[in-house]
């Protein structure tokens, strides 16, 4: 036990001695974007060092109190349980939204239905509505496609659209977004969800209403940024407030116009589209 402790301390000292590299860890959704941003940042600041690794949002957030990362990337908000863990050890974590990711609900282009409410979507994905004529379409069976359980998109859609309830068990789960597009393209009664960046002409995006059908919004970078399109998830960076001086150059580069331009390039919604109210600002977790 004692030896392990000594070894750990030695390792930590060694690591700190080698360099002041910033470690960024977490969500696989944010991984390609952060890598791209880090590369650009390093071109301008060749003296610094940034190490970006994936593993999932949960892994990143768990690494923060253990001090094995400086910035945790997360494609979801920190959970209550995780916040409590931070509070226990007195870690004051800062949260910053670096980009938004919108999910589009898509159907086959031959489907006449072009808008649904959240309640209707919930009923469809939970197997309570099984025919398109119940939501004003043709007399077709609804074929529901979902991502596999390991996907963060699956979790977010469950949280946002299904109100934390479970999907029906007979849902068709596809291993990748590409497979969902392919299936929706060739199946008449299909419905599925994909990231905004993946939208193409083979599938038709639906307008979605979260207020019982009063306002419908079509998914696009603009509607996602101005808040009218509801199925949008913020993508977060979390870091220890004490380390603010170390991480803030990189974080502010991400939030700069230049950083946000590559956010848009990578198919995400920038936080600084004309109307940004709370986004982009630093907020304390609690």
């Amino acid at each position: 036990m004692k030896r392990t402790a000594v070894l750990t301390i030695l390792c930590v000292l060694l690591l700190q001695g080698v360099s002041s590299a910033q470690r960024v860890k977490g969500s696989d959704t944010l991984l390609p974007l952060t890598q791209e941003l880090a590369e650009q940042y390093l071109e301008k600041h060749p003296e610094s060092e940034i190490i970006v690794t994936g593993g999932g949002s949960g892994v990143g957030i768990a690494a923060l109190p253990e001090n094995t990362t400086d910035i945790a990337m997360a494609s979801r908000r920190i959970k209550f349980g995780e916040k409590m863990k931070f509070a226990e050890i007195g870690l004051d974590a800062r949260e910053v939204i670096v980009a938004y990711d919108a999910l589009a609900v898509v159907v086959n282009p031959s489907n006449p239905v072009d808008s649904l409410t959240r309640e209707q979507l919930e009923a469809i994905f939970r197997g309570k509505i099984t025919n398109w004529k119940e939501v004003g379409g043709e007399d077709w069976k609804i074929v529901v496609y979902s991502r596999e359980t390991s996907s963060g998109t699956y979790e977010f859609f469950k949280e946002s659209v299904l109100d934390n309830k479970n999907y029906m068990s007979s849902i068709l789960s596809m291993p990748a977004t590409g497979a969902i597009i392919q299936s929706v393209k060739q199946t008449k009664g299909a419905i599925g969800y994909i990231g905004l960046a993946y939208l193409n002409r083979f599938v038709k995006p639906l307008s979605v209403s979260y207020d019982g059908g009063r306002h419908y919004a079509e998914p696009s970078v603009r509607t996602a940024a101005d808040g009218s399109y509801p199925i949008v998830r913020p993508l977060y960076y979390y870091y220890d407030a004490e380390k603010e001086s170390i991480v803030s150059p990189f974080v502010s580069y991400v939030l700069s116009d230049e950083g946000q331009a590559s956010v848009l390039e990578q198919g995400f919604v920038p936080v600084r589209e004309e109307t940004s109210d709370t986004s982009g600002k630093l907020t304390s977790v609690r």
Binding site: P175, Q186, T187, G189
Partner: protein
Amino acid sequence: MKRFLEKAVKWILTGSGFVTSAVILLIIGFLFTEGAGLFGEPVVEEGYVLALNDDNPVRTMTAAEIKAVFDEDITNWKELGGPDLQIMTFRLEDADEYFSEEELGSRYEHAGAAIASLVKSHPGMVAFVPESLIPENPGLNFIEDKNISPGEVLGGKEWFPTATPAPLFGILPLLAGTLWVSLFAILFALPFGISIAVYMSEVASERVRGFLKPVIELLNGIPSVVYGFFGLIVIVPMLQQVFGLPVGESGLAGSIVLAIMALPTIVTVAEDAMRNCPRTLREASLALGATKWQTIYKVVIPSSMSGIASGVVLGIGRAVGETMAVLMVTGNAAVIPASILEPLRTIPATIAAELGEAPAGGAHYQSLFLLGVILFFITFFINLCVEFISSRNRAKNR
């Protein structure tokens, strides 16, 4: 010197044999211990409890009932043998809605007490909270937590490992899906495989054979994800049109892809076996006046039966264990299929799709190992069948 070398080689061979066997036994042991661990896990997620109001007499709920309650499919305690009361559910994530920051305390030191008093003031509430959060003597009732029973797993009809608070681990849909797809795959592959093998070994000229054999063996080298993609963009839409299905991702699509994938194995092994049929047997048959066809199906095929059988089993083995191709074309719906034209989910596809996210050591992780154990038994059983067939055949040939 020579003797020493011979001894050394002998020792190396023995040693590697022992090491290999030991490693295989270790892997099997690991698989079984991890898999059996599932039955030591509680029904409700580990470390969490379901807290009820003191006046609520309900004490037991099955995993399926807990899921139905939190999905708002069961909305009244009456349906669970309790009083006529609306069910209210509370998850830890809802804490922000009920309490302000001050009420929870700056370090959430009051969170437990706040939740306890909330449950106390709502007679119909059921709260899903961490055990560590609940204060001592809270004046609450808890749903009795039992371990996951083998009956629920082996006889369960619902596979829902990510359901909170109570995941469901019924393996019947997965088992049925695997057997169903493999059965049809082998039904398609067997006639084609055997006839190609007969053609290549008995009928085809040397030149045709020299061309055909490498081509068929080439099929073995194609990565399975390529087969899967081919199935998704060619076979799935084709089936959809031919059978007029609402959804093309089906067991049939999976079994056709698997049949194509199993063909090279069956053909190669069966053809080799037939070509190795002793010349004397053929000549004796022809000398007795049998025609070429009579010789093939009365002499060549029976005498190479064990080779054909092992080819078939290797093919089945590939079909049962195949992951990626099946994952892409069967739709992966965890329901017990009523016909081969419906979407279904197989055991290997489930393990591949879910192991990445399952937290190591948790119930979900262990249930995937249990699926591995079941897959192990299926292949073990198939191997026993082959042993039986070939040993019977050997006895007959003697």
